[in-house]
């Protein structure tokens, strides 16, 4: 006679009074497929696909125009224009500056993020609010502030200084968000396993934030490729300044077209490089954040506070001081341009507001498709839209000019073309913001809405829309703020006889009428600061991952 007993429940067997045994009695795989996550990709409504396709196609148009233009120039002439000493100089200037500024911004942004998020820095809420603000100051205003006070500032190191001061918040924001949302338990485990504070920072904190850091660096690099005004003021020759000169001064469109090709190629290479480095590392579940134990700064407190204050003073204080200095002296010397200020502010707000509204509305179908109906088609549309990031505003503006002059002369130098340029340029911003807010509405809410007898349009109106509204507002402000301080495309596309804050500022600055220019800079900053504050609060609540969906 034989007998065996049941698989013993063992130490982990019976748990409760009424004996719920271990659950593997049925030989179930322990791999939990994640309940509720096994969702089918539902086919997207046709209207959503059509809308997304139209938006994606529209975003591609400037690139197409640019290529058509280049094709019309012809390869022989293009190669003559490209393979010359000037191109090499521009390439060296651009790449070396990008390398210096990106490295410096990465260092400053990460250090500042660590100080505000992971140490017991005093007044850290104030400091973290201040440290973000330079992002609201256009780089050409920072450059103007510095050169108007120190006219000898120019060249690589001058440009590197000014642009680092203007761009480090682009690294600070995502890295700080990543530090904030990371699970401190990982760091605690690392410490308990015998790794010191510094090694833990390198091997755990920074490693977890590397995607955010990479994304920030990508943004810095792309902004640098697109920057024009600051370089012009600092007399630093890059692709943009050269393209602008060829177009505006020499009316040499073939040369501008050839150089644009190189610039876009550089941007695409950076995007591709980032995509390769970040490949397969996205979309990990975000651990639930809890209260962080902050490192004690101890005797380092004073130096850290001082260096952060100095940073803010250099980035924000210098342009502000320059503005007040010139405004004060202008009251005695030149007539304030009060009437033109009002008109410029109105047009700036009008164009920026229209562009912000259009970009936000256009982003909605693409974002919903990408989040709710993830699939090959949605990915293609989304990537297409984000490809625009590689196109500097200057290139987009010139492509639109080419198109208008060649085919639809009526819209050349109309507000329509300028707003269209803004929409395309800042569409990636809108898409990222809208996408993040759509992703924060669980699909289960929409399902519950339908099971309660509401048809999809009603669910959209009563559930989805109210919940994504903050994200739509954020997107609107993000685009609005960026458009208000846009200079390059505006200079090319602004309707005849109209001045915006940026173009009027630029005109006065070129005449060295700093006193007359200062009020326009002041107004730009005033218009930009409110959205930046709202934006900062929104970024605060956003997990780092969604900032990097690009």
């Amino acid at each position: 006679m034989t007998a065996t007993t049941a698989p013993p429940p063992g130490p982990s067997g019976p748990r409760g009074p009424s004996g719920s045994a271990g659950t593997n009695g049925m030989g179930a795989t322990s791999a939990d497929s994640g309940r509720g996550e096994v969702r089918e990709r539902r086919p997207a409504p046709a209207a959503l696909i059509v809308a997304s396709a139209v938006v994606a196609a529209a975003m591609l148009l400037p690139l197409v125009f640019m290529l058509v233009q280049a094709a019309q120039v012809g390869w022989t002439e293009l190669s003559n224009l490209l393979f010359r000493h000037l191109t090499a100089v521009l390439l060296w200037n651009t790449v070396s500056l990008c390398a210096v500024v990106t490295t410096a911004s990465a260092g400053i942004g990460t250090a500042a993020a660590f100080a505000t998020e992971r140490t017991d820095l005093p007044a850290r809420r104030l400091l973290s609010a201040l440290i973000v603000l330079p992002v609201a100051v256009p780089d050409f205003v920072i450059a103007w502030g510095w050169t108007s006070l120190a006219p000898s500032l120019h060249g690589l190191w001058g440009a590197a200084l000014v642009l680092t001061l203007g761009l480090y918040p682009l690294v600070y924001l995502p890295v700080a968000a990543s530090f904030r949302s990371a699970d401190p338990a990982q760091e605690e485990v690392s410490r308990s396993l015998g790794r010191g504070r510094l090694r833990t920072f390198w091997s755990v904190s920074l490693r977890n934030a590397r995607l955010a850091l990479l994304g920030g660096c990508l943004l810095v690099w792309l902004y640098l490729l697109a920057e024009y005004g600051a370089f012009e003021i600092l007399r630093y020759q890059t692709f943009t300044t050269e393209i602008f000169a060829e177009f505006e001064v020499g009316f040499n469109t073939p040369a501008a077209s050839a150089l644009s090709l190189v610039l876009v190629l550089l941007g695409l290479m950076v995007l591709a490089g980032e995509a390769m480095l970040a490949h397969g590392q996205r979309g990990r579940p975000q651990p639930r954040a809890r209260v962080v134990t902050r490192s004690r700064l101890g005797p380092a407190t004073a130096p850290v506070v001082v260096s952060m204050v100095v940073l803010v003073a250099l980035a924000l204080g210098v342009p502000l001081w320059a503005i007040s200095h010139w405004m004060e002296s202008s009251q005695r010397t030149t007539l304030p341009a009060a009437s033109s200020l009002g008109s410029a502010a109105w047009h700036t707000a009008l164009y920026s507001g229209c562009a912000a509204a259009v970009a936000t509305v256009a982003a909605l179908p693409v974002a919903i498709l990408a989040v709710r109906h993830r699939g090959r088609l949605a990915t293609v549309f989304e990537r297409t839209c984000l490809l625009v990031q590689a196109l500097p505003g200057l290139v987009i503006a010139l492509a639109l000019v080419f198109f208008a002059v060649r085919y639809v002369v009526g819209i050349y130098q109309s507000a329509f073309l300028l707003i269209a340029a803004y929409v395309v340029m800042f569409f990636p911003l809108a898409l990222i913001a809208v996408r993040a807010s759509v992703a924060r509405v669980p699909a289960s809410l929409e399902e519950v809405g339908r099971s309660l007898g509401q048809r999809p349009p009603a669910v959209m109106l009563r559930v989805t829309l109210p919940l994504v509204l903050p994200g739509l507002l954020a997107s609107f402000f993000l685009v609005f703020l960026t458009a208000v301080t846009e200079l390059t495309a505006t200079l090319i596309l602004v309707p005849t006889g109209v001045q915006t804050l940026a173009t009027q500022f630029w005109a006065y600055t070129n005449d060295f009428s700093y006193g007359a220019a200062a009020p326009f800079a002041a107004t730009m900053l005033a218009v930009a600061v409110v959205p930046t504050y709202l934006l900062g609060r929104w970024f605060d609540r956003l997990p780092a991952r969604s900032l990097l969906a690009a």
Partner: protein, 357 residues
């Protein structure tokens, strides 16, 4: 009140078959629990019932209406099926009243129906609070009231208690069961918790490999499970090999009476026998009174207060090793390990022909 009939349901995600020809019948007005380990397809079943997903084959009938088959797919909003997800999924931008009234017309919302429903789930006067101001248990009650608002023909509950604290769980469970039986709503509860299924439901359907392996009353499932694997899934189990002799099973624990399950066993047939831990009786023995029972030694005693689970090693070797047995005792002081005990089995036992799982 509606009877639900599901037949031949098939669904796969990519290469993974989740439902493999599932049949299920939910009697009118009953609470049926669908019990299965993680990944057994129970949530998928629920989502198909709700209309959120379409099966590749099979049909779903609610009352008289075929809502799902090869040709028909009634959208969720047309099914009148209430849905209570795991986390409640309350609309964060609406108050408790706003949530409950979401599916109601304006006239119905004004008729006091919302307040009535909140009262039903024990939340009178809490209607103005927003989801983030409510505890987890309150959120689940609101979610239930919301699901019941439109007098649905069927209510689906997707592990609605698993995100609650143990202390809260019992109360919410009891309230939900009370509300469902008071309203007489046909409901399906998905869970991986055996206690929950056995204590709440009128009927329990156990899912395995994308099919229902057994659908029975809780008592029948516990005392007369289909096979040994199912027996250990729905509760602790001692499984012993034995041989049928004259209507009894001869096992290392002695000769045991076999419960009659309507499937007679042949003489001398090898069987697998189920002895639930509460059927195993322990007497502290010592050398002087060796009268009756099988000798064993206490290996471990886990004391829960209201009862305890004792692991006993049999003194006699079976196939070269000493089997471990589990006994649940109530109203006794904990036993020290190494204590000698005598084992006996109370009541008839379930026996399956050997090799049946």
């Amino acid at each position: 009140m509606t009877r639900v009939v599901v037949s031949g349901l098939r669904k796969s995600f990519g290469a993974r078959v989740v439902l493999d020809g599932l049949d299920l019948e939910v009697p009118e007005g009953s609470l049926t629990a669908v019990l299965g380990p993680s990944g057994s397809g129970k949530t998928t079943l629920l989502r198909i019932l709700a209309g959120f997903e379409r099966p590749e084959a099979g049909s779903v009938t609610l009352g008289e209406n075929v809502v799902e088959d090869g040709r028909t797919h009634l959208p969720p909003e047309a099914r009148r099926v209430g849905y209570v997800p795991q986390d409640g999924a309350l609309f964060p931008h609406l108050s408790a009243s706003g949530n409950v009234g979401f599916g109601l017309s304006r006239r119905e919302r004004r008729s006091g129906r919302v307040e009535e429903l909140l009262g039903l789930v024990g939340l009178s006067g809490e209607g103005r609070r927003f989801p983030h101001q409510l505890s987890g248990g309150m959120q689940q009650r609101v979610a239930l009231a919301r699901a019941l608002a439109g007098q649905p023909s069927l209510v689906l509950l997707d592990e609605p208690f698993s995100s609650l604290d143990a202390a809260l769980r019992a109360g919410v469970r009891a309230d939900v069961a009370r509300v469902l039986s008071e309203t007489g709503t046909t409901s399906v509860l998905v869970t991986h918790d055996q206690d929950e299924a056995l204590s709440l439901a009128d009927r329990v359907a156990v899912l395995r490999g994308g099919r229902v392996v057994q659908c029975a009353s809780p008592e029948q499932l516990y005392t007369d499970p289909l096979d040994p694997a199912l027996a250990s899934f729905v509760g602790d189990a001692n499984l012993l090999e034995g041989t049928v002799r004259a209507g009894t099973a001869v096992t290392p624990l002695g000769t045991l009476a076999i419960a009659d399950d309507g499937r007679p066993l042949a003489e001398a047939q090898k069987v697998m026998v189920l002895v639930r831990p509460e059927q195993l009786e322990l007497r502290t023995s010592n050398a002087s009174n060796g009268g009756g029972g099988i000798d064993g030694l206490v290996v471990e005693c886990r004391y829960f207060g209201h009862d305890m689970l004792v692991t006993v090693e049999m003194a006699a070797e079976v196939k070269g090793r000493r089997p471990l047995l589990y006994a649940r005792l109530t109203g006794r002081s904990p036993l020290g390990s190494g204590s000698p005990v005598a084992l006996s089995v109370a009541g008839p036992v379930k026996a399956w022909p050997a090799g049946s799982g």
